[in-house]
Amino acid sequence: MEKNVPGAIVGHHHNALCVSNIKESLRFYEALGFHQSSAREKSPGEHDRKTMLVHPSDPGTCIELYECGGESHTLAEDHKEMAGSWWQFCFEMQAPEDVDRIYEYALSIGGKPRIAPVDVKMYGPRKQMCREAFVFGPDGEIIEFVIYKNLD
């Protein structure tokens, strides 16, 4: 029997994020509940410091921080229209009211407002509504909080 290669994928593991100050990013993401599962200090011949953050809600909710920002003149927001750009990390919430609560909480720990909580109707093959909110993280990375609800 032919091996089911796609079936070998057991999950999303992480998204890598370039940050300018790993201590500041750690403060923000630890306040969101992440904890470090590993850290690698800068060593001779290497230019980046990195750490893997894991969220207790789900082992697939990981962000790998690389302290390597600062050389580029472009911003992450400028990349979101660029083909091939990964640009938004989204948390799924337990309840619609959590979107609002978590948005305010994210702002209270240093996030910047991007889009305040809003209900959005999306008309595809199935009618669906979501409540979503977006903040910028410490380096302008885009973080979304969402919950979806089917209308049909």
Partner: protein, 159 residues
């Protein structure tokens, strides 16, 4: 509110967004279907700006949210990885070391380009992240990593 309240309010990872050119839209969807995602929803942006959107779902790896009307070309890897605030790769997990090689070969067969062939990644400071990894460029030059961690934290199926 404190971090514990936040943790309880979060169900988990939902998706990462990827911008796609209209010219490659259908091919990109087929590419991700080839590694086990399926097209869950396809629609136009609720704002009415004409932009195509799609959610691709994997039973085990969450969603990819695709946005159309992507333009331009990503900068080279060095600039990309030094763009502050930039998510610059997405990583999928496998639970056998040989599956890194199998998924890597599958990705290449679907049209991906080689970036880093499968290799062992042994950490000096901590063995918690000892792994076998491979990297490819997807059809839009997006960077995709495949990882087997010796200390693997497995994710339960979403279904």
């Amino acid at each position: 509110m404190d971090r514990n309240v936040f943790c309880k309010a979060v169900k988990g990872y939902h998706h990462i967004a990827l911008t796609v050119s209209d010219a490659r839209w259908d091919r990109v969807i087929e590419f991700y279907k080839g590694i086990g995602f399926h097209l869950k929803y396809s629609f136009h942006h609720p704002s009415g700006n004409g932009k195509r959107m799609a959610f691709l779902e994997s039973e085990k790896a969450g969603y990819l949210e695709l946005f159309g009307m992507g333009t331009g070309q990503l900068p080279d890897d060095r600039e990309l990885m030094h763009t502050t605030g930039k998510f610059f790769h997405m990583c999928l997990a496998v639970d056998k070391p040989e599956d890194v090689d199998a998924v890597y070969e599958l990705l290449l067969s679907l049209g991906a380009e080689e970036r880093i062939a499968p290799r062992e990644n042994i950490q000096r400071s901590s063995h918690e992240m000892d792994s076998r990894v491979a990297f490819v460029y997807g059809l839009e030059r997006e960077i995709i990593e495949v990882i087997y961690l010796k200390v693997m934290q497995k994710k339960e199926s979403r279904s």
